[in-house]
């Protein structure tokens, strides 16, 4: 057996038992039925207080913004969040105080844009119980879950405080005697991923980088897909090589054009840096931030209303041009 030589002190929020997961997936529906619904319906049906939530994409790149907003509008609480490659998604969910437990790999920051003052206040408030990980550690946990095994080994993390405050164990390899860090499988209760195209059953296409979304899709017990465009099932069947998430992983399909806004969507539109800057600025003052949230999230009925408030199609057109490195209004000199 494995000889465990060290273990982190952090809490393991989810059971890594592969047989229990198999029992769940044994009964997961694989019928080819339409799963098209609104984001509101999807969140009502699949996101529940107290459960484990993960969000696909990379912080402000290919994120399901509409689902994050709807989770706030429906006032979901006491969830456990996968703080994995999270930036703007974390910022939104922290604003709603949606979670009180968090697996931390990357949180609070928005990369080169700076740190979110509100998310930082929330994480320093003592309201959130947390456990440390790294981005690859979390990807490996999802990969183990997607494989249907209870852990996977890696050669990172050992010797650091990140390890000390994690729920990772270090064990000797039974073949070589070398130390390995062992990462427990993570089967999130519910996840949301934004993709380029999906059919009504949930067969998905993604262009550009995958981050850890293909692992996440397979690891998740329930999966909400938002897509830029719905395509016909015949289009999926015309080019099966392009399918990256098969329908039987998926529980809800919501068509949300520009759904990663204000994040970037590869080959579609660039991130709205002005709007992201506005979020960071307005968060400095708790009162102003509340007004901001009331206006942009709680006071809007859906993602379309939010987009309209942010400049609508006109703004999207500018971001499309930016994505494709087209200079609008360029004067010939």
């Amino acid at each position: 057996m494995f000889d465990v030589v060290a273990q982190g002190e952090g809490p393991l929020f989810m059971d890594p038992d592969a047989d229990k997961a198999r029992e769940f997936f044994r009964h997961k529906n694989r019928a080819l039925v339409s799963k098209v619904m609104t984001v509101k319906e999807a969140v009502e049906k699949f996101v529940h207080d107290g459960e484990y939530l993960a969000i696909g994409g990379f912080g402000a790149n290919r994120i399901p913004t509409a689902v994050c907003h709807e989770i706030l509008r429906q006032k979901k609480k006491n969830m456990i969040f996968a703080g994995h490659t999270s930036t703007h998604d974390f910022q939104i969910l922290a604003a709603g105080e949606v979670f009180n437990r968090c697996d931390i790999a990357y949180i609070i920051g928005l990369e080169a844009r700076g740190l979110s003052p509100n998310a930082r206040r929330y994480m320093e408030s003592g309201k959130v119980k947390s456990c440390e990980w790294t981005n690859y550690s979390m990807a490996l946990r999802l990969k183990a879950a997607a494989m249907g095994v209870s852990f996977l080994p890696g050669r990172n993390v050992m010797g650091t405080d990140t390890f000390k405050y994690s729920a990772i164990k270090v064990a000797k390899c039974p073949f070589t005697g070398q130390n390995y860090s062992l990462f427990p499988a993570l089967w999130p209760d519910v996840s949301a991923i934004h993709v380029h195209e999906a059919d009504i059953y949930g067969n998905c296409r993604v262009k550009g980088i995958s981050i850890a979304d293909f692992e996440l899709a397979r690891a998740s017990k329930h999966l909400i897909i938002t897509c830029e465009r719905l395509v016909h099932n015949e289009e999926i069947r015309r080019d099966p090589t392009a399918t990256v998430i098969p329908y039987y992983c998926v529980d809800a399909v919501c068509e949300v054009p520009f759904g990663s806004y204000p994040g970037n969507m590869a080959y579609e539109y660039f991130s709205d840096e002005d709007h992201l800057k506005l979020w960071l600025k307005v968060e400095e003052d708790a009162g102003k931030f509340k007004e901001f949230l009331d206006k942009y999230i709680y006071g809007t009925k859906d993602f379309n209303e939010y987009l309209e408030l942010c400049g609508g199609i006109q703004r999207i057109n500018q971001l499309r041009a930016q994505e494709h490195l087209i200079e609008l209004n360029k004067k010939e000199s």
Partner: protein, 255 residues
């Protein structure tokens, strides 16, 4: 002689440390600027890799995020996190290039908390992919301003492994053999590590500074390389590329 600011000096010095044809896992912020400058000057065949999945792009502008679409512009592959980290774990990535909040004499990095973990003075983002890259890549380079609040005797939290407690500690913990910190590039100097003690040492000093300036802005005793050289100043060509092509919006060089 061309005029330049300290951030420009730091990025130019960092870029020169990336050799053509090398593979490098690049962190967010200043490392992106340095990698792009290297690609646009002496290292057109530099293979830049981003943790979110971008492999070997020809960067049109500096990425704001290590997962944004600039990271796959004219790239050879748009992959995912496992592909990048496993290629590193397999031993095919020469360098990683990271930023950091705090660093100690063994090159251990803290980006998790300032103060006590349970009740921190300040909560920071955490590892992201930094611990992973610094565990797996052959050589770790760090770019950070020379400041006694950053160069500390003891980091609040070892987020990302340097040489841990000294010689042999990485291997003893279980990290891959013959890996570890390589250079630290600051606005005043290029620092390396003593082969015997694995402690940080000054190797090259930028124009306008002396060893004492570097030491005064460092919270621990620095060692000296046998011969400390002068860092060549940025050339007009390097500065032009940096200002016009790499960071025209002055995201990094305007800090």
């Amino acid at each position: 002689m061309a005029e330049y600011n300290t951030m420009e000096m730091m990025i130019v010095a960092a870029a020169r440390n990336l050799e053509d044809g090398a593979t490098v896992g690049v962190g967010t912020g200043a490392p992106c600027a340095a990698a792009m400058l290297a690609q646009k000057t002496h290292a057109p065949k530099l293979v830049i890799m981003f943790e979110a999945g971008g492999i070997s792009p020809i960067l049109p502008t500096m990425p704001i995020s290590v997962g944004d679409s600039r990271t796959i512009y004219r790239a050879i592959m748009a992959s995912g996190m496992c592909e990048i980290m496993e290629t590193s774990q397999r031993g095919m990535v020469d360098y990683t290039f990271l930023g950091g909040a705090q660093i100690d004499m063994y090159g251990n990095l803290n980006s998790t908390v300032i103060g006590d973990w349970a009740k921190p003075k300040a909560r920071l983002p955490g590892s992201g992919g930094a611990n992973d890259f610094a565990s797996f890549c052959w050589r770790v380079m760090v770019i950070t301003p020379q400041d006694p609040r950053r160069f500390v005797e003891k980091v609040s939290f070892i987020t990302t492994p340097g040489y841990l407690t000294g010689p042999g500690a990485r291997e003893k913990a279980g990290l891959p053999k013959n890996t570890g910190p390589h250079k630290v590039i600051t606005n005043m100097a290029i620092l390396g590590y003593d082969e015997e003690t694995k402690r940080m040492r000054v190797e090259s000093i930028h124009e306008g500074y002396a060893f004492d300036d570097v030491q005064k802005n460092c919270g621990f005793q620095l060692l000296k390389a046998k011969e400390i050289v002068k860092t060549p100043v940025p050339t007009a060509h390097e500065l032009e590329i940096l200002r016009k092509e790499v960071d025209p919006n002055r995201y990094i060089i305007g800090r």
